[in-house]
Symmetry: C2
Subunit: 341 residues, 2 copies
DNA sequence: CTGAAAGCGCTAACAA
DNA sequence: TTGTTAGCGCTTTCAG
């Protein structure tokens, strides 16, 4: 299997310097003369040397940022990831994604795996592991959590104001004249601290907004999952109510898609019979035939900022933990209209 | 930042054995008595020890499989990834994904990064790097390439028969009575060996099938990209033809979505005015309002097999390179119908 | 500014 | 079967 890889020793020999000198050049460390700098760089180029990240990690950094991706199918995550990659692509750091799955156990496994591989920093997208475990890893390696509300002294956080987002939807629907506005929530049946999860905040935001609009008596939440299937099932349930809702606010576009399918299947029309709104403003929502009213989170911006905040911690520029809250906007499309008269 | 991590030395001390013994237990290596086995395992549990993957990699393996993901937005890739994760989840190996981007340069960077981190094996999803470079990395670390046609002595490959798939679509449309069947191809303007790429084989399969059906005179290929925007642009171009096609076969669902948007925007209906077919049978294709006729590749199966084949190489069970070709099927939905009369 | 030497946590080869 | 020892490729003191 091929010849031995070029190592720092080869470069040192080729350039007639010590390995320590090469190491310094590699890291732009203090204390190298311009002459040596160029000598070493020439040797590196001549030999096609690439430092061995795993070995570097044994003493210093691995120059790797790990990103926990709970659900590889969630179409919102690519926005985040592209934001991170864009920001980190300009640095020496490499991004590696850990497919975490939707269970706390599998996510923990993935997180541990990244820690065990000596990643310099971690970005966790809406992790559903317990707060305790979260803070423990955050104390071991700089961590930015995306999507979970509530601040921590140990990790930085980037969140979108889900409560405001839910309010935008309820206001929009109420303004159109809807009263029977139902909500589809994502709920996992595990322990943890659910109040900090986006889905909980969205559901709570929905409730508060309904009350604020004097629609407290119409509050109707179905617990399901933020998946197409979850939306489908929940909608079936809603359509079977003695008195049907005139609008369904799904907590995520993925679920809203399932809602559209179920409504479609029931022979009802959107928005003629029922208005449907989603959350995340996924690319799917913008599709002509779908045209789903949805809350936009600017995932790209969230990703960029998460990466930026993480680097500040990795490089020690900032000590104290920070929380960045971004504001959502509502994108109105053709899936919402006044209720049938 | 927390206390020192538990190392193999701590475990050895706690269990009153040598570090070598612990190492052996860790790897189920030959030559450990049951007694020591349990002693060590108890110590591991007691201290909450997790081996340091990066350090292991310095001498042995990292127990990490790297997957190059060119486009995090492509909805077909999650199928592959879930297949891999499912298969590898039952082993000691961890999956990490490298976001490669759609440029050869960024992909190479990502691949190198995974090699530099001593991954035990690589799965490359439709990489667009040159064959030379591909074989070079394959000689450095066991590699399975997904989606590129043509065999290699250095790497294993898993492909779906794209030529057959394109033929299925053309046959279906021709059977419906279409003649003006246009095709949207993905083309990047770089060097490389494009004939082995799926998009090239699909386009070629389209051409051959058209000729086979006596429609050689109607061949109409627009070079664009397998993205929503690419499909949109290409369709705009097709709709501007003096004589419009009656059917558009987009080489990927993502592009087909763009096609649907463009057709929709032009005030035309699908399939009334124009039939549209995609490729990959993505989850989006199945959505009620979309209902896109598409070629199904069983990405899950491809992922599982890629992972299986890779492990065979990593663990040395198989020496010779292998090529696995799977067959596609056509899923007919409501986006295709006879041409307008 | 430069280099020698120690050691990061682990595994492999060898000795006991 | 078990333990000892020598590194893997790099960074980091700390002398020179």
């Amino acid at each position: 299997m091929s010849q031995r890889r070029v190592t720092i020793a080869d470069v040192a020999e080729h350039a007639n310097v010590s390995t320590a000198a090469v190491s310094k050049v590699l890291r732009n460390a203090y204390g190298v003369s311009p002459a040596m700098q160029t000598r070493v760089q020439e040797a590196i180029a001549a030999l096609g040397y690439r430092p061995h990240a795993a070995a570097r990690g044994m003493r210093g950094q691995t120059y790797t940022v790990g990103v926990l991706v709970p659900d590889v199918r969630n179409p919102f995550f690519p926005e985040l990831i592209e934001g991170m990659v864009e920001h980190l692509g300009a640095t020496n750091y490499q991004v590696l994604l850990g497919p975490g799955g939707s269970e706390p156990e599998s996510q923990s496994r993935s997180i541990d795996a990244m820690v065990d591989r000596r990643m310099d920093g971690l970005i966790l997208i809406a992790p559903i592991v317990g707060r305790r475990a979260l803070e423990e890893t955050a104390r071991a390696v700089p961590t930015v959590v995306i999507g979970r509300h509530g601040r921590s002294a140990d990790y930085d956080a980037v969140v979108d104001d889900d409560q405001v987002g839910a309010g935008l939807v309820v206001d929009h629907l109420a303004d159109l004249g809807h009263r029977r506005i139902a909500h589809i929530e994502h709920r996992y049946t595990r322990r943890g601290s659910p109040t900090t999860m986006p889905q909980t905040v969205r559901a709570e935001g929905y409730r508060r907004a309904m009350e604020r609009r004097g629609l407290g008596g119409y509050v109707d939440v179905v617990a399901s999952t933020y998946t197409e299937e979850g939306g489908y099932t929940a909608t079936k349930e809603l359509l079977a109510r003695p008195v049907r809702p005139t609008a369904i606010f799904a907590g995520a576009d993925a679920a809203a898609i399932g809602t559209l399918n179920a409504v479609h299947e029931a022979g009802l029309s959107v928005p003629g019979d029922i208005s449907v709104a989603g959350y995340d403003n996924t690319a799917i929502a913008a599709l002509g035939p779908i045209s789903l009213t949805s809350v936009d989170q600017d995932g790209h911006l969230m990703g960029v900022n998460a990466a930026r905040m993480l680097l500040e911690r990795v490089e020690g520029t900032r000590e104290r933990s920070a929380l960045l809250t971004l504001s959502p906007t509502l994108v109105v499309r053709r899936s919402t209209a006044p209720p049938p008269t």
